[in-house]
């Protein structure tokens, strides 16, 4: 069950990342066209960069599901299969710890509880907390930046989902599914 949720979510993440890669390409092309016709749009670069950042974090989360990240396999390759299975479990625990840490960083950063306490009034919120995240502007888009930053939540939640799945699932079970 957990595996199916994780797999489905990873597929969604990958498709979203692919769509964002298309966006990056089209935005950069749009920049060329508009600039060379004397209609330079000054917000395109920033949007393209955010699209790339979203693509990256969604793709990085999906990579945790597929165990498709860059790793040094010197040690696991050198030991017996049994020891290797132990190492894989330890790595799963560490990655799970990382995912929880990311959730905690996002929690400290976005302070959702304090925001709710302030009745979702960001003025009161920043007076109470000295946290100006909801007032931060983007430099050219005219949209609050927390909208783009929210991908860090998606990343933290996705990483938690995928790493929990790996932690709870025996390797053989995954191969069967």
């Amino acid at each position: 069950m957990l595996y199916r949720i994780s797999a489905t979510w990873a597929r969604v993440e990958l498709w979203a990342a692919a769509v964002l890669a298309v966006c990056v390409t089209l935005l950069v092309l749009l920049n060329v066209v508009t600039r060379n016709t004397g209609n330079a749009l000054f917000w395109v670069d920033e949007l393209a960069i955010y699209a790339m950042a979203w693509m990256t974090f969604l793709g990085a989360s999906a990579a945790l599901h597929y165990r498709n990240s860059v790793v040094i396999t010197l040690l696991p390759d050198a030991v017996s299969l049994r020891t290797k299975a132990v190492i894989v479990k330890i790595v799963d625990i560490i990655v799970f710890g990382f995912a929880l840490a990311m959730l905690w960083f996002c929690w400290r950063w976005f302070m959702p509880l304090e925001l709710a306490r302030a009745g979702f009034d960001t003025k009161i919120f920043q007076g109470n907390t000295f946290n100006f995240i909801y007032a931060e502007p983007t430099s050219t888009l005219g949209i609050p930046k927390y909208i783009f930053w929210s991908v860090m939540w998606l990343f933290a939640l996705g990483a938690t989902l995928h790493s929990t799945m790996h932690l709870m699932t025996a390797p053989s079970q995954i191969e069967k599914s």
Binding site: A40, G127, F130, P137
Partner: protein, 301 residues
């Protein structure tokens, strides 16, 4: 306390040197109780990131362009009124006025930082690949700017296509023609040789470019009264010293640029025609302090 001070300028730059001098004097005056580590060249991140770190209290201090702060507290945009100052010395007098100082007062509540005083960089000039003999020649040109609203409004009013671009990309972009012109100060035009790939340098002096010395409001709240007084006084003194440096050196850079043999023209407000009125119409509404600042400018002219 061991304070961390961040800025975007590299070690040889006037701002970085002022930051170093501030740290030395603070250490000396406090009898070694305080020290300042300077982090130049955006080591801790760009200005937006540093401002965030000031807000959380991760970073203690910064010397930052007023442009960045004005993206969050619009009233500071008033400093960028075209031709508010006649020349660089006049810009210095405006920045040293009581009115200018009072404009920093709302920063703790609005942005989460304490502004202790102004410094500056040189006045803005225009470097162009092609001939520029009137403002009409700027119309339709791709022109590089630092991304903040007042300057964007200025070039939009002229009819140029303002193109935001970080400093590292500028030299190449001008060399290759990805931009036709750039908005830049005399120091960098000379030091980074932006005139290399340009035909025309227009000494327009159209805008000042102030800097502000900031302390994290969170960190500030944790300091004793005596420490606040000492840090406030010393930081104000050293950011202020950059004003003197630029007043002293600006003419020399401009003369060296003029000597390069490129077409060099000096223009004034009349060059830009109605664009300046258009800008004023937008900003008299956006920036409440603009009228007072104009009054200060008139008094100190």
């Amino acid at each position: 306390n061991e304070f961390r001070l961040g800025l975007i300028t590299p070690p040889p730059h006037i701002w970085t040197k002022a930051a170093g001098a501030f740290g030395e004097e603070l250490a000396e005056k406090s009898g070694g109780a305080h020290s300042v580590s300077v982090f130049p060249s955006r080591q801790l991140g760009n200005e937006a990131e540093m401002l965030q770190q000031l807000q959380t209290g991760a970073l203690d201090m910064a010397f930052m362009t007023v442009a960045e702060v004005s993206n969050r507290y619009v009233d500071l945009g008033a400093f960028y009124a075209p031709y508010l100052a006649n020349d660089i010395a006049h810009a210095g007098r405006i920045l040293r006025s009581d009115k200018a100082a009072s404009m920093l007062a709302p920063l703790p509540g609005e942005v989460g930082v304490v502004g202790l005083g102004y410094g500056m960089a040189g006045l803005r000039q225009i470097v162009s690949r092609g001939e520029i003999s009137s403002a009409a020649d700027l119309s339709g040109l791709k022109l590089r700017i630092t991304p903040f609203t007042p300057i964007l409004d200025f070039y939009n009013a002229i009819g140029a296509a303002p193109t935001p671009m970080p400093l590292p990309a500028v030299y190449d972009a001008l060399a290759n023609g990805q931009v036709d012109a750039i908005d830049m100060d005399a120091e960098l035009i000379w030091v980074l040789k932006y005139y290399d790939h340009a035909d025309t340098i227009v000494q327009s002096d159209h805008m000042m470019f102030p800097m502000v010395g900031l302390v994290s409001a969170k960190v500030w709240a944790g300091l004793s009264e005596e420490d606040r007084a000492m840090i406030g006084e010393l930081m104000a003194k050293h950011v202020d010293s950059t004003i003197d440096s630029y007043i002293e050196k600006e003419a020399g850079w401009l003369a060296q640029i003029a000597d390069t043999g490129k077409t060099y023209t000096k223009v004034d407000a009349s060059f830009f025609g109605s664009a300046i009125d258009d800008w004023n119409a937008i900003w008299s509404e956006k920036a409440p302090s603009l009228d007072d600042l104009r009054a200060v400018a008139a008094e100190t002219r």
